[in-house]
């Protein structure tokens, strides 16, 4: 994969070039951090879709649970921020246990069962005022601390943290995808029985993917809580945290590893810089239109579409004949 060759370049750009050039431009840094936050969720969502075979319309549930878990742990129990973020992920994974029974349901039921959970958690967060600050929310959530002399609470620090998180997620995704478990997960999508009959515990694997996706989303939510320093139920569990990652993943191609990440950066940035300027209230209409068009014309995403066209053009140019032996 050509990805392998570009890894050093990517790392240099992410950890060297961007900080050097942009660290004093607060506005752009904010957009980057936010788009990477979306990228993290998009990746987790794609993981569940690709390897778990389940489309979810309620990832905001895990995002919110992660946010609140981490915030409450740091504010009410004095847990340091970084461990609290981890617990945020764990909290979201635990919350996903409630979704487990939905695994055996057909696609649409699962997608909407998760949506119901998102709403339930939002209402619970609003009601448990003593714990969650209720509708008023939590203010003054601790920032990222200073470590090794570097203030991670700064904009640059937040950027470095979220970038690292997303990269780690990408690595985990890739590791699973190329493992035997990943193979089994891929095969399971078309029919679980064919895998069960060779010894694959398909139910267990699906559950693991659910936990992992929830865990990842929870960590992103926790990160966001300490980045924004403020939480309220309608924000933490907002449908936006479900919607934009979906658009991003579909746009970038949710079957690939880089698709959701690039999709998120592009979609979020364009939405904030261009769409929002065009239609300040209701600019998400363009995202909806984008999603609709993509499902109709490029369900595998626009980026794979481009690369397919590029490689086809290349092959025609080199006069190579199509691969033989395929039964079409």
């Amino acid at each position: 994969m050509k990805l392998r060759h570009s890894i050093p370049i990517i790392l240099v750009v992410l950890y060297g070039v961007v900080p050097l050039l942009l660290q004093h431009n607060n506005y752009i840094m904010s957009i980057l951090v936010a788009s990477l936050t979306i990228a993290g969720i998009a990746l987790a969502w794609s993981l569940l879709g690709n390897l778990g075979g389940m489309v979810s319309f309620g990832h905001a549930a895990f995002f919110g649970v992660g946010s609140y878990t981490s915030a409450i742990l740091t504010m009410k129990m004095g847990v340091p921020v970084f461990p609290a973020i981890l617990f945020g992920g764990i909290g979201a994974a635990i919350a996903s246990i409630a979704v487990l029974p939905a695994l055996r349901l057909a696609g649409p039921y699962f997608a909407l069962a998760i949506l119901a959970y998102a709403n339930i958690f939002r209402i619970l967060a609003t009601e448990f005022t003593s714990l969650t600050g209720g509708a008023g929310g939590l203010l003054g959530i601790p920032l990222f601390p200073e470590l090794f002399g570097f203030n991670f609470g700064s904009k640059l620090g937040s950027y470095l943290i979220i970038t690292s998180i997303v990269l780690i997620f990408a690595v985990i995704y890739r590791m699973i995808r190329t493992s035997y478990h990943g193979f089994a997960l891929l095969a399971m999508i078309e029919g679980e029985d064919s895998t069960r009959v060779v010894g694959v515990n398909s139910t267990f694997l699906k559950a693991m993917m659910l936990f992992l996706s929830a865990f990842m989303t929870g960590i992103i939510g926790a990160f966001n809580a300490h980045y924004i320093n403020f939480l309220e139920p309608d924000y933490a569990f907002s449908g936006v945290w479900t919607m934009i990652p979906i658009v991003a993943a579909i746009f970038g191609g949710y079957r690939t590893l880089t698709g959701p990440i690039i999709g998120a950066i592009v979609v979020y940035t364009v939405d904030q810089l261009i769409f929002k300027a065009l239609i300040p209230s209701g600019h998400q209409i363009i995202l909806g239109a984008l999603l609709t068009l993509m499902i109709l014309f490029a369900p595998d995403g626009l980026i794979p579409l481009f690369s397919k066209k590029l490689s086809w053009a290349r092959r025609v140019k080199e006069n190579r004949s199509p691969q033989t032996g395929h039964i079409c």
Partner: protein, 237 residues
């Protein structure tokens, strides 16, 4: 190795299997025949775990397997092929075998995979996509390969030869006849072709309307008037 006791399967008003009882021993090759709809595939489904019987018990090497889920049965040594091949999607032939081996035995042994590929004459297609680049007989071979990769002690072959034209059939039959001696496993094979069964199986069971009506050598069984009636006369709707 496998003992079935009074297995009954009822779907609503339809009785698919009724009081099926028999035993298959280590390294035995047993043919299972019967008219269409007699319940042969249902029996396989019960043994492999796709269908829960409404009554009866199944003991495999002293384990009551009816309590085990499908994947556990595969791991303790029951391998099964499907009548319509179900290759693992999005994977190559080799990956199909690797997944079967990894989850059926707990680890991957590349040498054994090569051996299976060679035995089934799939080496050339090993790294091609399983779903799109295989002919029907190769898909059937892959079915057997996946089951073999799980290192079974009992192999259930469900009409592996159906749909193949004569040349492929003969070649495949030769492969199948080596299975028992090479891998030292018990084989329970469903086939329609009486000649094939008679050549391959020293023992045959006949299923009709969900019940076993004969159990013996091919000669005994195919000259049994009950059996002949079930194939020719028996009122089938």
């Amino acid at each position: 190795m496998l003992t079935l006791n009074n297995i009954t399967v009822q779907f609503g008003g339809l009785i698919a299997l009724k009081g099926v009882t028999f035993t298959i021993r280590d390294e035995e090759v047993l043919g299972l025949v019967g008219p269409n709809g007699a319940g042969k595939t249902t029996l396989f489904n019960v043994i492999s775990g796709l269908t829960r019987p409404t009554g009866g018990e199944a003991i495999f090497n002293k384990i009551n397997i009816l309590n085990s889920p499908m994947h556990k049965r595969a791991r303790v040594g029951i391998g099964r092929t499907f009548q319509i091949p179900q290759p693992l999607q999005e994977l190559t032939v080799r990956q199909n075998l690797q997944v079967a081996q990894r989850f059926g035995t707990g680890k991957v042994n590349q040498d054994k995979i090569e051996e299976i590929l060679n035995f089934l004459h799939l080496e050339d297609k090993a790294d091609r996509d399983a779903v799109s680049s295989l002919s029907l007989s190769e898909l059937k071979a892959l079915e057997v390969g996946k089951a073999l990769a799980t290192e079974p002690q009992l192999l259930l072959l469900d009409e592996v030869l159906a749909g193949l034209e004569t040349a492929s059939k003969r070649a495949f039959m030769k492969t199948l006849s080596e299975l028992n001696s090479k891998y030292r496993i018990s084989i329970l094979i469903i086939e329609h072709d009486i000649e094939t069964i008679s050549n391959m199986c020293p023992r045959v069971c006949v299923l009709n309307y969900g019940q076993i009506i004969a159990d013996g050598t091919p000669k005994e069984v195919f000259s049994d008037p009950e059996v002949i009636k079930s194939y020719t006369g028996g009122a089938h709707d």
